[in-house]
């Protein structure tokens, strides 16, 4: 029986890995739809690169950085393609695939924010660095058994907060890291030509195909049913079958609540229910619930979705109109801001140790501290990486290439002929 149980767990993990892999086309279509047709081949290419580089580098080095051991919980040992160090119940190769698709998800968030103006060659450097280094290291602090999730009584987290950092499927670890890097990447690049008028007023640059973007978001939504419930890494036995079902429900409720909140808020604020922002709102809810999908109640999930859907709209407005950072697809708001909000709200709404359920503020403190440390790490790496590239080689294509489209000049191929 136990043997069948582990097989069932393995099949569930691999099925979830397929669903999370399927988020790659979701991101690709979503980003392509939200940008202009002259840059479509470029953004599709970047999505392929993120997965290709991510898979190779995570296999050779990142997996060891993340799950290897150093004894101190800060950084694992690179594995150089050797998987034998990993001792777990589930087959290591399946587990590697499962972790690879998560790494690639984090990497591919950034391409949308840096769309329509980044040199392809320089994007490759970013894409390699996140999968090689940025993601696996903060991943080691948490899922890799590192210091943020160390539940030994004399560990730093337990002695300071009385609780460890909890990020079930990666609101902070995967999404906020991608979102923070997206924001810094877009900041280093500067806005697209024509995005801001001379007086600083923001101008709309409509995406070329909202049907494509909508399909992308539906695909991402489907992928999330692997991303969150799959992170249970088990399906056999009563505890697990109840748990993954619960996560399915909370994931979906947060998604719809996020979409509904954004739809009504944009209707109220801008006079019309905005499709393109509602698509972002669904993703905002999904990103938000990812941290606490296992420990919040279904109603809690609705609350997280609603808050994320509302915050999203203000965040996009603030980043665009006040900060003047041009993020064509809203990646920094969806993944960065809502990833942080979701992680924090888990500290409030967890039914087992959340502040709103009378368990005190220790767990919330652990969440706030954890997400702060993780995003400071991402921000520091992002600053060095993007401003370093900018200074040394230039991050941005020439004006003429940007105006006529990256497809022809960077790749020699148009998407539409």
């Amino acid at each position: 029986m136990e043997e069948i149980g582990i097989s069932l767990d393995t099949v569930w993990m691999l099925l979830a890995a397929m669903l999370v892999f399927w988020m790659q086309p979701g991101f690709a279509l979503c980003e392509a739809g939200f940008t202009r047709g002259k840059n479509t081949a470029n953004i599709l290419m970047k999505n392929f690169v993120d997965f290709m580089f991510g898979s190779l580098l995570f296999f050779f080095v990142g997996f060891g950085f993340m799950f290897g051991s150093d004894g101190a919980g800060f950084i694992g040992m690179p594995n150089w393609g050797d998987l034998s160090f990993y001792k777990g119940e589930l087959p290591v190769e399946g587990f590697l695939i499962f972790e690879t698709v998560f790494c690639a998800t984090s990497a591919t968030i950034v391409s949308g924010a840096m769309a329509e103006r980044t040199k392809f060659s320089m994007y490759l450097i970013y894409s390699a660095v996140i999968s090689l280094f940025i993601y696996p290291i903060e991943g080691h602090w948490t899922w890799g058994g590192g210091w943020l999730c160390d539940d030994a009584a004399d560990g730093f987290m337990m002695s300071t907060f009385g609780d460890v950092f909890h990020d079930f499927a990666g609101s902070a670890i995967v999404h906020s890291v991608g979102g923070v890097l997206a924001l810094i990447g877009a900041l280093a690049l500067g806005p697209r030509i024509g995005k801001y008028a001379k007086d600083g007023k923001s101008r709309a640059i409509p995406g070329h195909n909202l049907a494509m973007a909508a399909l992308g978001v539906f695909i991402l939504w489907l992928g999330w049913f692997g991303f969150n419930p799959g992170s249970q890494l088990a399906a056999s036995g009563e505890v697990n079958r109840v748990a993954i079902s619960h996560v399915f429900l909370t994931t979906n409720l947060a998604a719809v609540a996020g979409g509904v909140a954004t739809m009504f808020l944009t209707w109220f604020k801008y006079g019309k229910p905005s499709l393109s922002l509602t698509l972002n709102g669904v993703l905002a809810g999904l990103v938000g619930i990812t941290a606490g999908c296992d420990i919040v109640s279904p109603l809690g999930a609705v609350v997280i979705g609603l808050v994320c859907g509302i915050v999203l709209v203000f965040s996009i407005e603030f980043i665009d109109r006040k900060l003047h950072i041009d993020d064509p697809v809203g990646a920094a708001s969806v993944h960065g801001v809502c990833g942080i909000i979701g992680t924090l709200m888990t500290g409030l709404l967890s039914t087992t140790n959340g502040a709103f359920y009378g368990f005190g503020w220790g767990f919330f403190g652990a969440q706030a501290f954890g997400v702060l440390v993780i995003d400071l790490w991402a921000a520091a790496c992002g600053f060095i990486l993007f401003f370093g590239i900018k200074k040394l080689r230039g991050l941005r294509v020439d004006k003429r290439i940007e105006e006529e489209g990256l497809d022809i000049y960077e790749h020699g191929e148009n998407c539409y002929n």
């Binding site: 024509g194 003429r400 022809i408 020699g412 191929e413």
Partner: protein, 115 residues
């Protein structure tokens, strides 16, 4: 009454549009056009070089009263200019007559220019 046709760079279109709306042109048509010309770009699809002489441009068609021809041409000359080969051309021709379909009104007064 004249018809002004201008072939301009795609990349200048947004600025020319703004400039025309700010001068006294209320309405004009535009088309994305492909031309065959001297300027050659190397394009490769799946390793195969192909049709390097197709050039993408935007064609504007503006119909206006006589007194607006000079200022309109001037605006296009100014805003569509980059100085590189391939900035385009402007053609002006006579228009014989016009009607408004809604009112049945005839003559160049149906062009609701601000002047």
């Amino acid at each position: 009454m004249k018809r002004i046709e201008a072939i301009i760079r795609k990349t200048r279109f947004e600025d020319v549009k703004e400039a025309l709306l700010q001068s006294d042109i209320d309405w004009f048509e535009y088309h994305n056009v492909h031309g065959i010309g001297q300027s050659r770009q190397e394009r490769i699809y799946r390793g195969v070089q192909y049709s390097t002489d197709v050039i993408e441009r935007v064609a504007l068609t503006i119909v206006c009263r006589d007194q607006l021809v000079d200022p309109t041409v001037k605006v296009i000359l100014q805003v569509a200019h980059t100085g590189e080969i391939g900035d385009g051309r402007i053609f002006v021709s006579d228009m014989i007559d016009t009607w408004s379909i809604r009112t049945g009104e005839n003559g160049d007064t149906v062009l609701r220019d601000k002047k």
